[in-house]
Protein backbone atom coordinates (compact mmCIF):
# COMPACT_ATOMS: atom_id res chain seq x y z
CA UNK A 1 0.00 0.00 0.00
CA UNK A 2 1.45 3.40 -0.96
CA UNK A 3 0.83 6.73 0.75
CA UNK A 4 -1.79 8.00 -1.72
CA UNK A 5 -3.82 4.82 -1.36
CA UNK A 6 -3.48 4.92 2.42
CA UNK A 7 -4.62 8.53 2.67
CA UNK A 8 -7.52 7.92 0.30
CA UNK A 9 -8.65 4.98 2.45
CA UNK A 10 -8.37 7.08 5.59
CA UNK A 11 -10.48 9.82 4.02
CA UNK A 12 -13.09 7.34 2.78
CA UNK A 13 -13.18 5.61 6.13
CA UNK A 14 -13.81 9.00 7.71
CA UNK A 15 -16.94 9.23 5.53
CA UNK A 16 -18.21 5.87 6.69
CA UNK A 17 -17.00 3.80 3.74
CA UNK A 18 -16.32 0.23 4.76
CA UNK A 19 -12.81 -1.14 4.43
CA UNK A 20 -12.29 -4.86 4.13
CA UNK A 21 -10.15 -6.75 6.59
CA UNK A 22 -7.04 -7.04 4.45
CA UNK A 23 -7.12 -3.38 3.52
CA UNK A 24 -7.66 -2.38 7.13
CA UNK A 25 -4.70 -4.47 8.19
CA UNK A 26 -2.51 -2.94 5.48
CA UNK A 27 -3.70 0.50 6.51
CA UNK A 28 -2.76 -0.04 10.13
CA UNK A 29 0.67 -1.37 9.24
CA UNK A 30 1.34 1.48 6.85
CA UNK A 31 0.32 4.21 9.29
CA UNK A 32 2.48 2.69 12.00
CA UNK A 33 5.51 2.88 9.71
CA UNK A 34 4.81 6.11 7.82
CA UNK A 35 5.05 9.50 9.58
CA UNK A 36 3.37 11.32 6.68
CA UNK A 37 0.28 9.12 6.72
CA UNK A 38 0.20 9.16 10.50
CA UNK A 39 0.21 12.97 10.34
CA UNK A 40 -2.54 12.86 7.72
CA UNK A 41 -4.66 10.67 10.01
CA UNK A 42 -4.18 13.16 12.83
CA UNK A 43 -4.90 15.99 10.43
CA UNK A 44 -8.19 14.38 9.42
CA UNK A 45 -9.30 14.22 13.04
CA UNK A 46 -8.27 17.83 13.63
CA UNK A 47 -10.05 18.95 10.47
CA UNK A 48 -13.24 17.22 11.57
CA UNK A 49 -13.04 18.94 14.94
CA UNK A 50 -13.10 22.45 13.45
CA UNK A 51 -16.67 23.73 13.79
CA UNK A 52 -18.50 24.90 10.70
CA UNK A 53 -19.26 28.57 10.29
CA UNK A 54 -22.31 29.74 12.18
CA UNK A 55 -25.09 31.32 10.19
CA UNK A 56 -25.60 34.91 11.40
CA UNK A 57 -28.71 35.02 13.60
CA UNK A 58 -30.19 37.92 11.68
CA UNK A 59 -29.79 35.95 8.45
CA UNK A 60 -31.87 33.12 9.90
CA UNK A 61 -34.48 35.62 11.07
CA UNK A 62 -34.68 37.33 7.69
CA UNK A 63 -35.00 34.04 5.80
CA UNK A 64 -37.76 32.83 8.11
CA UNK A 65 -39.59 36.15 7.81
CA UNK A 66 -39.43 35.94 4.01
CA UNK A 67 -40.76 32.40 4.05
CA UNK A 68 -43.46 33.32 6.51
CA UNK A 69 -44.59 36.05 4.13
CA UNK A 70 -44.62 33.56 1.27
CA UNK A 71 -47.54 31.71 2.84
CA UNK A 72 -48.27 28.00 3.09
CA UNK A 73 -46.51 25.29 1.10
CA UNK A 74 -48.12 24.89 -2.31
CA UNK A 75 -48.98 21.27 -3.12
CA UNK A 76 -47.68 19.45 -6.19
CA UNK A 77 -45.58 22.20 -7.73
CA UNK A 78 -43.13 21.25 -10.44
CA UNK A 79 -39.77 19.98 -9.30
CA UNK A 80 -36.88 22.43 -9.04
CA UNK A 81 -34.31 23.10 -11.69
CA UNK A 82 -32.48 20.19 -13.25
CA UNK A 83 -28.89 19.43 -12.49
CA UNK A 84 -26.67 22.12 -13.85
CA UNK A 85 -23.98 20.28 -15.78
CA UNK A 86 -20.34 21.08 -15.60
CA UNK A 87 -18.35 23.47 -13.53
CA UNK A 88 -17.09 25.72 -16.26
CA UNK A 89 -18.92 28.68 -14.84
CA UNK A 90 -17.80 28.18 -11.28
CA UNK A 91 -15.47 30.94 -10.18
CA UNK A 92 -12.12 29.38 -9.48
CA UNK A 93 -9.52 32.09 -9.42
CA UNK A 94 -10.22 35.03 -7.18
CA UNK A 95 -10.35 38.51 -8.64
CA UNK A 96 -6.85 39.90 -8.13
CA UNK A 97 -7.11 41.86 -4.92
CA UNK A 98 -5.28 45.08 -4.24
CA UNK A 99 -3.45 43.76 -1.22
CA UNK A 100 -0.09 42.96 -2.72
CA UNK A 101 1.00 46.51 -3.22
CA UNK A 102 0.28 47.37 0.38
CA UNK A 103 1.67 44.26 1.96
CA UNK A 104 4.98 43.63 0.30
CA UNK A 105 7.23 45.13 -2.25
CA UNK A 106 9.43 42.80 -4.17
CA UNK A 107 11.77 44.63 -6.48
CA UNK A 108 12.96 43.14 -9.67
CA UNK A 109 16.62 42.35 -9.89
CA UNK A 110 17.28 41.69 -13.53
CA UNK A 111 17.19 39.03 -16.12
CA UNK A 112 17.98 35.52 -14.92
CA UNK A 113 19.57 32.82 -16.98
CA UNK A 114 18.13 29.44 -16.20
CA UNK A 115 18.37 25.70 -16.34
CA UNK A 116 20.30 23.04 -18.14
CA UNK A 117 17.51 22.86 -20.68
CA UNK A 118 18.11 26.54 -21.40
CA UNK A 119 14.62 27.49 -20.36
CA UNK A 120 14.61 31.18 -19.81
CA UNK A 121 12.32 33.43 -17.93
CA UNK A 122 13.54 36.95 -18.14
CA UNK A 123 11.05 39.28 -16.69
CA UNK A 124 12.66 42.44 -15.53
CA UNK A 125 10.68 45.14 -13.94
CA UNK A 126 12.66 48.06 -12.76
CA UNK A 127 9.80 49.44 -10.77
CA UNK A 128 6.79 48.34 -8.85
CA UNK A 129 3.82 47.97 -11.13
CA UNK A 130 0.18 48.11 -10.29
CA UNK A 131 -2.92 46.10 -11.09
CA UNK A 132 -3.56 46.48 -14.79
CA UNK A 133 -0.79 48.77 -15.95
CA UNK A 134 0.91 48.32 -19.33
CA UNK A 135 4.07 47.35 -17.46
CA UNK A 136 2.29 44.50 -15.75
CA UNK A 137 0.74 43.29 -18.96
CA UNK A 138 4.14 43.47 -20.66
CA UNK A 139 5.65 41.47 -17.83
CA UNK A 140 2.93 38.87 -18.01
CA UNK A 141 3.28 38.66 -21.77
CA UNK A 142 7.01 38.17 -21.43
CA UNK A 143 6.41 35.36 -18.98
CA UNK A 144 3.91 33.73 -21.29
CA UNK A 145 6.26 33.99 -24.22
CA UNK A 146 9.12 32.52 -22.29
CA UNK A 147 6.97 29.71 -20.95
CA UNK A 148 5.40 28.87 -24.27
CA UNK A 149 8.82 29.08 -25.87
CA UNK A 150 10.17 26.49 -23.48
CA UNK A 151 10.65 23.15 -25.11
CA UNK A 152 7.41 21.22 -25.04
CA UNK A 153 9.26 18.08 -25.86
CA UNK A 154 11.98 16.01 -24.36
CA UNK A 155 12.35 14.69 -20.86
CA UNK A 156 11.37 17.27 -18.29
CA UNK A 157 14.31 19.19 -17.03
CA UNK A 158 15.01 19.41 -13.32
CA UNK A 159 16.32 22.86 -12.63
CA UNK A 160 17.44 23.27 -9.07
CA UNK A 161 15.38 25.73 -7.08
CA UNK A 162 17.06 25.11 -3.78
CA UNK A 163 20.62 25.22 -4.91
CA UNK A 164 21.38 21.66 -3.99
CA UNK A 165 24.01 19.86 -5.99
CA UNK A 166 22.22 18.02 -8.78
CA UNK A 167 22.10 14.30 -8.30
CA UNK A 168 23.18 12.77 -11.58
CA UNK A 169 21.39 9.55 -10.73
CA UNK A 170 18.09 11.40 -10.85
CA UNK A 171 18.99 13.77 -13.68
CA UNK A 172 16.10 12.48 -15.80
CA UNK A 173 13.56 12.61 -13.01
CA UNK A 174 10.91 15.29 -13.48
CA UNK A 175 10.77 18.46 -11.46
CA UNK A 176 7.06 17.96 -10.92
CA UNK A 177 4.78 19.45 -8.30
CA UNK A 178 1.06 18.88 -7.80
CA UNK A 179 -1.48 21.67 -7.34
CA UNK A 180 -5.20 20.95 -7.11
CA UNK A 181 -4.64 17.55 -8.69
CA UNK A 182 -2.80 18.94 -11.72
CA UNK A 183 0.90 18.52 -12.50
CA UNK A 184 3.33 21.38 -13.15
CA UNK A 185 7.04 21.23 -13.84
CA UNK A 186 9.69 23.66 -12.77
CA UNK A 187 11.14 26.07 -15.27
CA UNK A 188 13.47 27.65 -12.74
CA UNK A 189 13.56 30.82 -10.70
CA UNK A 190 11.25 33.67 -11.57
CA UNK A 191 11.77 37.36 -11.13
CA UNK A 192 8.30 38.79 -11.21
CA UNK A 193 6.61 41.83 -9.79
CA UNK A 194 4.49 40.84 -6.81
CA UNK A 195 1.65 43.04 -8.00
CA UNK A 196 1.15 40.74 -10.97
CA UNK A 197 0.49 37.73 -8.74
CA UNK A 198 -2.49 36.40 -6.84
CA UNK A 199 -2.28 33.82 -4.06
CA UNK A 200 -4.22 30.71 -4.99
CA UNK A 201 -3.28 28.12 -2.38
CA UNK A 202 -0.53 25.94 -1.01
CA UNK A 203 1.68 23.27 -2.61
CA UNK A 204 3.30 20.70 -0.35
CA UNK A 205 6.71 19.75 -1.71
CA UNK A 206 10.34 19.37 -0.75
CA UNK A 207 11.34 20.46 -4.28
CA UNK A 208 14.89 19.21 -4.83
CA UNK A 209 16.10 19.89 -1.30
CA UNK A 210 16.24 16.28 -0.16
CA UNK A 211 14.51 17.34 3.07
CA UNK A 212 10.95 17.07 4.29
CA UNK A 213 8.04 18.43 2.27
CA UNK A 214 6.69 21.77 3.45
CA UNK A 215 3.80 23.97 2.39
CA UNK A 216 4.74 26.67 -0.11
CA UNK A 217 2.40 29.48 -1.12
CA UNK A 218 1.21 29.11 -4.72
CA UNK A 219 0.52 32.17 -6.85
CA UNK A 220 -0.75 32.82 -10.36
CA UNK A 221 -0.60 35.46 -13.02
CA UNK A 222 -4.03 36.66 -13.93
CA UNK A 223 -3.08 36.39 -17.58
CA UNK A 224 -1.58 32.92 -17.73
CA UNK A 225 -3.63 29.98 -16.49
CA UNK A 226 -0.86 27.54 -17.41
CA UNK A 227 1.75 29.10 -15.17
CA UNK A 228 2.18 28.76 -11.43
CA UNK A 229 4.64 30.44 -9.09
CA UNK A 230 5.79 29.13 -5.72
CA UNK A 231 7.15 31.28 -2.91
CA UNK A 232 10.30 29.33 -2.07
CA UNK A 233 11.75 28.87 1.42
CA UNK A 234 14.63 31.15 0.39
CA UNK A 235 12.20 34.02 -0.15
CA UNK A 236 12.61 33.98 -3.92
CA UNK A 237 10.05 32.77 -6.45
CA UNK A 238 10.06 29.63 -8.56
CA UNK A 239 8.20 29.40 -11.87
CA UNK A 240 6.29 26.31 -12.98
CA UNK A 241 4.32 25.51 -16.09
CA UNK A 242 1.52 23.03 -16.64
CA UNK A 243 2.56 19.68 -18.13
CA UNK A 244 0.44 19.63 -21.25
CA UNK A 245 -0.17 17.61 -24.39
CA UNK A 246 -2.51 18.64 -27.17
CA UNK A 247 -5.15 16.57 -28.87
CA UNK A 248 -7.06 17.99 -31.80
CA UNK A 249 -5.68 21.38 -30.88
CA UNK A 250 -7.09 21.15 -27.35
CA UNK A 251 -4.74 21.23 -24.35
CA UNK A 252 -4.82 18.38 -21.82
CA UNK A 253 -2.99 18.62 -18.51
CA UNK A 254 -1.30 15.78 -16.65
CA UNK A 255 -3.12 14.94 -13.40
CA UNK A 256 -2.19 13.20 -10.18
CA UNK A 257 -3.83 11.88 -7.05
CA UNK A 258 -0.42 11.61 -5.41
CA UNK A 259 1.02 14.59 -3.57
CA UNK A 260 4.30 14.50 -5.58
CA UNK A 261 6.05 15.61 -2.43
CA UNK A 262 9.47 16.02 -4.04
CA UNK A 263 11.07 16.34 -7.44
CA UNK A 264 11.56 12.98 -9.11
CA UNK A 265 8.16 11.49 -8.22
CA UNK A 266 5.96 10.34 -11.11
CA UNK A 267 2.18 10.54 -11.17
CA UNK A 268 0.11 7.49 -11.95
CA UNK A 269 -3.50 6.96 -12.89
CA UNK A 270 -6.17 8.43 -10.61
CA UNK A 271 -7.02 6.08 -7.76
CA UNK A 272 -10.43 5.35 -9.26
CA UNK A 273 -8.95 3.96 -12.47
CA UNK A 274 -7.56 0.45 -12.62
CA UNK A 275 -4.26 0.23 -14.50
CA UNK A 276 -4.73 -1.72 -17.73
CA UNK A 277 -3.33 -5.19 -17.98
CA UNK A 278 -2.74 -5.08 -21.73
CA UNK A 279 -0.98 -2.73 -24.09
CA UNK A 280 -4.26 -1.99 -25.88
CA UNK A 281 -5.54 -0.43 -22.66
CA UNK A 282 -7.99 -3.17 -21.78
CA UNK A 283 -9.88 -3.72 -19.64
CA UNK A 284 -9.98 -0.09 -18.50
CA UNK A 285 -9.44 1.85 -21.71
CA UNK A 286 -9.89 1.67 -25.45
CA UNK A 287 -7.66 3.28 -28.08
CA UNK A 288 -8.85 6.71 -29.21
CA UNK A 289 -6.31 7.76 -31.82
CA UNK A 290 -3.21 9.87 -31.42
CA UNK A 291 -2.46 13.23 -29.89
CA UNK A 292 -1.00 16.05 -31.96
CA UNK A 293 2.51 14.61 -31.57
CA UNK A 294 1.37 11.20 -32.76
CA UNK A 295 1.36 9.58 -29.30
CA UNK A 296 -1.48 7.04 -28.90
CA UNK A 297 -4.14 8.09 -26.41
CA UNK A 298 -6.85 6.03 -24.75
CA UNK A 299 -10.23 6.80 -23.21
CA UNK A 300 -12.31 5.00 -20.63
CA UNK A 301 -14.71 2.49 -22.08
CA UNK A 302 -17.88 4.43 -22.90
CA UNK A 303 -16.22 7.85 -22.55
CA UNK A 304 -14.98 10.42 -25.02
CA UNK A 305 -11.72 12.40 -24.81
CA UNK A 306 -13.59 15.31 -23.25
CA UNK A 307 -13.67 13.28 -20.02
CA UNK A 308 -9.88 12.78 -20.12
CA UNK A 309 -7.37 10.61 -21.91
CA UNK A 310 -4.83 8.05 -20.76
CA UNK A 311 -1.34 7.59 -22.15
CA UNK A 312 0.62 4.36 -21.87
CA UNK A 313 4.10 4.25 -20.36
CA UNK A 314 7.09 4.04 -22.61
CA UNK A 315 6.50 7.14 -24.71
CA UNK A 316 9.34 8.54 -26.75
CA UNK A 317 11.72 11.24 -25.61
CA UNK A 318 9.65 13.84 -27.46
CA UNK A 319 6.69 13.29 -25.17
CA UNK A 320 5.88 15.93 -22.53
CA UNK A 321 5.93 13.20 -19.87
CA UNK A 322 8.69 11.07 -21.41
CA UNK A 323 10.10 8.44 -19.11
CA UNK A 324 6.94 7.93 -17.06
CA UNK A 325 6.97 4.32 -15.90
CA UNK A 326 3.18 4.17 -15.45
CA UNK A 327 -0.01 4.97 -17.29
CA UNK A 328 -0.87 8.67 -16.96
CA UNK A 329 -4.16 10.56 -17.03
CA UNK A 330 -4.71 13.89 -18.77
CA UNK A 331 -7.75 16.15 -18.56
CA UNK A 332 -8.76 18.97 -20.89
CA UNK A 333 -8.14 22.50 -19.74
CA UNK A 334 -9.91 25.63 -20.96
Amino acid sequence: MDCAECMMLLSASHDGESIDGAAAEGLTEHIAACPECSAFASGLAELASIPASEVPVDTVDRVLATLDAAGPIAPEVAAPTAVTPGLAAVPSVPVPPPWFTRTRVWTATGAIALTAAAIMIAVVLSQQVTGSSPDERAAADAIQRSLSGAPASGAPASPSLIGATPNTASAQAPSYIAFQGRVYRSVGPADIAASALTTVGVVTTALDSGGAATGLTALRWSTDPHALVLALPSGSLGAFTAVIRTLGGRAYQLTTDSALSRFGEWPGLPLGLTPPTAADGSPTFRAAGNDDLGVPVFVRIGDTPSQGVAVAPGTTSSDPAAGNPSWTWWVPIP
Binding site: A52, E54, L87
Partner: protein
Amino acid sequence: MTTSTAEDAELVAAARDGDTRAFETLVRNHIGAVYGHAIRFFVDAGTAEDAVQEVFLKVHRSLGGFDGRSAFSTWLYRITRNVCLDMFRRGRRRAAPMDPLDLPHIPSGEFADAVATSVDLERAVAFLAPEDRDAFNAIALFGLSYADAGEVLGIPAGTVKSRVFRARRGLIATLGLGQKEAS
Protein backbone atom coordinates in the same frame (compact mmCIF):
# COMPACT_ATOMS: atom_id res chain seq x y z
CA MET B 1 -26.73 20.60 11.98
CA THR B 2 -27.06 17.08 10.65
CA THR B 3 -30.45 15.42 10.82
CA SER B 4 -31.51 11.92 9.96
CA THR B 5 -33.24 11.07 6.72
CA ALA B 6 -36.21 9.72 8.69
CA GLU B 7 -36.56 12.92 10.70
CA ASP B 8 -36.36 14.97 7.51
CA ALA B 9 -39.00 12.79 5.86
CA GLU B 10 -41.38 13.36 8.78
CA LEU B 11 -40.79 17.11 8.73
CA VAL B 12 -41.26 17.26 4.95
CA ALA B 13 -44.54 15.33 5.21
CA ALA B 14 -45.79 17.59 7.98
CA ALA B 15 -44.74 20.74 6.12
CA ARG B 16 -46.55 19.57 3.00
CA ASP B 17 -49.64 19.12 5.16
CA GLY B 18 -49.46 22.78 6.13
CA ASP B 19 -47.48 22.54 9.38
CA THR B 20 -45.52 25.78 9.30
CA ARG B 21 -43.57 24.87 12.44
CA ALA B 22 -42.35 21.70 10.76
CA PHE B 23 -41.18 23.73 7.79
CA GLU B 24 -39.42 26.21 10.07
CA THR B 25 -37.66 23.32 11.82
CA LEU B 26 -36.61 21.95 8.45
CA VAL B 27 -35.14 25.33 7.52
CA ARG B 28 -33.36 25.73 10.85
CA ASN B 29 -31.93 22.23 10.59
CA HIS B 30 -30.44 22.79 7.15
CA ILE B 31 -29.74 26.50 6.86
CA GLY B 32 -26.19 25.98 8.12
CA ALA B 33 -25.31 23.69 5.23
CA VAL B 34 -26.92 25.99 2.66
CA TYR B 35 -25.21 29.07 4.08
CA GLY B 36 -21.91 27.16 4.30
CA HIS B 37 -22.04 26.24 0.63
CA ALA B 38 -23.05 29.77 -0.38
CA ILE B 39 -20.39 31.56 1.65
CA ARG B 40 -17.73 29.23 0.26
CA PHE B 41 -19.01 29.87 -3.25
CA PHE B 42 -19.33 33.65 -3.09
CA VAL B 43 -17.10 34.47 -0.07
CA ASP B 44 -19.20 37.60 0.49
CA ALA B 45 -21.72 37.25 3.35
CA GLY B 46 -24.35 39.48 1.76
CA THR B 47 -24.39 37.50 -1.47
CA ALA B 48 -24.44 34.28 0.51
CA GLU B 49 -27.54 35.47 2.38
CA ASP B 50 -29.22 36.30 -0.93
CA ALA B 51 -28.45 32.77 -2.10
CA VAL B 52 -29.89 31.28 1.10
CA GLN B 53 -33.09 33.30 0.64
CA GLU B 54 -33.42 32.09 -2.94
CA VAL B 55 -32.71 28.47 -2.03
CA PHE B 56 -35.39 28.30 0.64
CA LEU B 57 -37.91 30.17 -1.50
CA LYS B 58 -37.35 27.49 -4.15
CA VAL B 59 -37.75 24.81 -1.50
CA HIS B 60 -40.93 26.50 -0.32
CA ARG B 61 -42.32 26.62 -3.86
CA SER B 62 -41.21 23.10 -4.78
CA LEU B 63 -41.71 21.07 -1.63
CA GLY B 64 -45.22 20.12 -2.73
CA GLY B 65 -43.69 18.42 -5.76
CA PHE B 66 -40.80 16.78 -3.91
CA ASP B 67 -41.35 13.11 -4.58
CA GLY B 68 -39.06 11.78 -1.86
CA ARG B 69 -37.18 9.47 -4.22
CA SER B 70 -33.98 11.04 -2.97
CA ALA B 71 -33.19 12.17 0.55
CA PHE B 72 -34.24 15.70 1.38
CA SER B 73 -30.59 16.67 1.95
CA THR B 74 -29.65 15.43 -1.55
CA TRP B 75 -32.52 17.40 -3.07
CA LEU B 76 -31.54 20.48 -1.06
CA TYR B 77 -27.91 20.22 -2.11
CA ARG B 78 -28.97 20.06 -5.75
CA ILE B 79 -31.07 23.20 -5.37
CA THR B 80 -28.35 25.02 -3.43
CA ARG B 81 -25.66 24.27 -5.98
CA ASN B 82 -27.89 25.25 -8.88
CA VAL B 83 -28.98 28.50 -7.24
CA CYS B 84 -25.35 29.53 -6.66
CA LEU B 85 -24.39 28.65 -10.23
CA ASP B 86 -27.40 30.49 -11.62
CA MET B 87 -26.64 33.57 -9.54
CA PHE B 88 -23.07 33.48 -10.78
CA ARG B 89 -24.26 33.26 -14.37
CA ARG B 90 -26.55 36.20 -13.76
CA GLY B 91 -23.54 38.26 -12.81
CA ARG B 92 -23.10 37.81 -9.07
CA ARG B 93 -19.37 37.54 -8.72
CA ARG B 94 -17.16 35.97 -6.18
CA ALA B 95 -15.33 38.29 -3.83
CA ALA B 96 -11.57 38.10 -3.42
CA PRO B 97 -11.15 35.56 -0.64
CA MET B 98 -8.80 37.32 1.72
CA ASP B 99 -5.58 39.04 2.41
CA PRO B 100 -2.76 36.50 2.08
CA LEU B 101 -1.21 37.72 5.30
CA ASP B 102 -4.27 36.29 7.01
CA LEU B 103 -3.74 32.87 5.45
CA PRO B 104 -4.03 30.23 8.12
CA HIS B 105 -0.63 29.30 6.97
CA ILE B 106 1.41 26.50 6.16
CA PRO B 107 2.95 24.05 8.57
CA SER B 108 5.32 25.81 10.87
CA GLY B 109 6.39 25.27 14.42
CA GLU B 110 4.35 28.15 15.72
CA PHE B 111 1.20 27.42 13.78
CA ALA B 112 1.32 23.75 14.64
CA ASP B 113 0.65 24.75 18.22
CA ALA B 114 -2.23 27.01 17.28
CA VAL B 115 -5.83 25.91 16.98
CA ALA B 116 -7.48 26.34 13.60
CA THR B 117 -10.87 28.01 13.74
CA SER B 118 -13.91 27.92 11.52
CA VAL B 119 -12.74 31.22 10.06
CA ASP B 120 -9.41 29.64 9.13
CA LEU B 121 -11.26 26.70 7.61
CA GLU B 122 -13.48 28.90 5.45
CA ARG B 123 -10.48 30.87 4.24
CA ALA B 124 -8.67 27.68 3.32
CA VAL B 125 -11.73 26.21 1.59
CA ALA B 126 -11.90 29.35 -0.56
CA PHE B 127 -8.67 28.24 -2.22
CA LEU B 128 -9.79 24.74 -3.16
CA ALA B 129 -10.44 23.86 -6.78
CA PRO B 130 -14.17 24.42 -7.47
CA GLU B 131 -14.83 20.76 -8.23
CA ASP B 132 -13.07 19.66 -5.05
CA ARG B 133 -14.92 22.28 -3.01
CA ASP B 134 -18.28 21.14 -4.41
CA ALA B 135 -17.60 17.50 -3.55
CA PHE B 136 -16.27 18.39 -0.11
CA ASN B 137 -19.34 20.54 0.64
CA ALA B 138 -21.69 17.76 -0.44
CA ILE B 139 -20.08 15.34 1.99
CA ALA B 140 -18.99 17.58 4.85
CA LEU B 141 -21.87 20.09 4.92
CA PHE B 142 -24.86 18.16 3.58
CA GLY B 143 -23.80 14.70 4.77
CA LEU B 144 -24.40 13.06 1.39
CA SER B 145 -23.00 9.67 0.50
CA TYR B 146 -20.46 9.46 -2.31
CA ALA B 147 -23.12 7.89 -4.52
CA ASP B 148 -25.71 10.61 -3.85
CA ALA B 149 -23.15 13.39 -4.31
CA GLY B 150 -22.03 11.76 -7.54
CA GLU B 151 -25.59 11.71 -8.81
CA VAL B 152 -26.01 15.44 -8.17
CA LEU B 153 -22.60 16.33 -9.56
CA GLY B 154 -22.91 14.02 -12.55
CA ILE B 155 -19.74 12.08 -11.76
CA PRO B 156 -18.99 8.56 -10.52
CA ALA B 157 -18.94 7.96 -6.76
CA GLY B 158 -15.25 7.08 -7.03
CA THR B 159 -14.53 10.52 -8.44
CA VAL B 160 -16.38 12.11 -5.52
CA LYS B 161 -14.21 10.08 -3.17
CA SER B 162 -11.09 11.23 -4.96
CA ARG B 163 -12.13 14.89 -4.92
CA VAL B 164 -13.08 14.84 -1.26
CA PHE B 165 -9.74 13.26 -0.45
CA ARG B 166 -7.94 15.92 -2.49
CA ALA B 167 -9.87 18.67 -0.73
CA ARG B 168 -9.03 17.28 2.69
CA ARG B 169 -5.37 16.85 1.80
CA GLY B 170 -5.26 20.47 0.64
CA LEU B 171 -7.00 21.75 3.75
CA ILE B 172 -4.76 19.76 6.07
CA ALA B 173 -1.68 21.15 4.31
CA THR B 174 -2.98 24.71 4.24
CA LEU B 175 -4.03 24.70 7.88
CA GLY B 176 -0.92 22.89 9.03
CA LEU B 177 -2.96 20.16 10.72
CA GLY B 178 -1.52 16.88 11.94
CA GLN B 179 1.89 18.43 12.60
CA LYS B 180 2.05 17.94 16.32
CA GLU B 181 2.64 14.23 16.13
CA ALA B 182 4.78 14.52 13.03
CA SER B 183 7.21 17.00 14.53
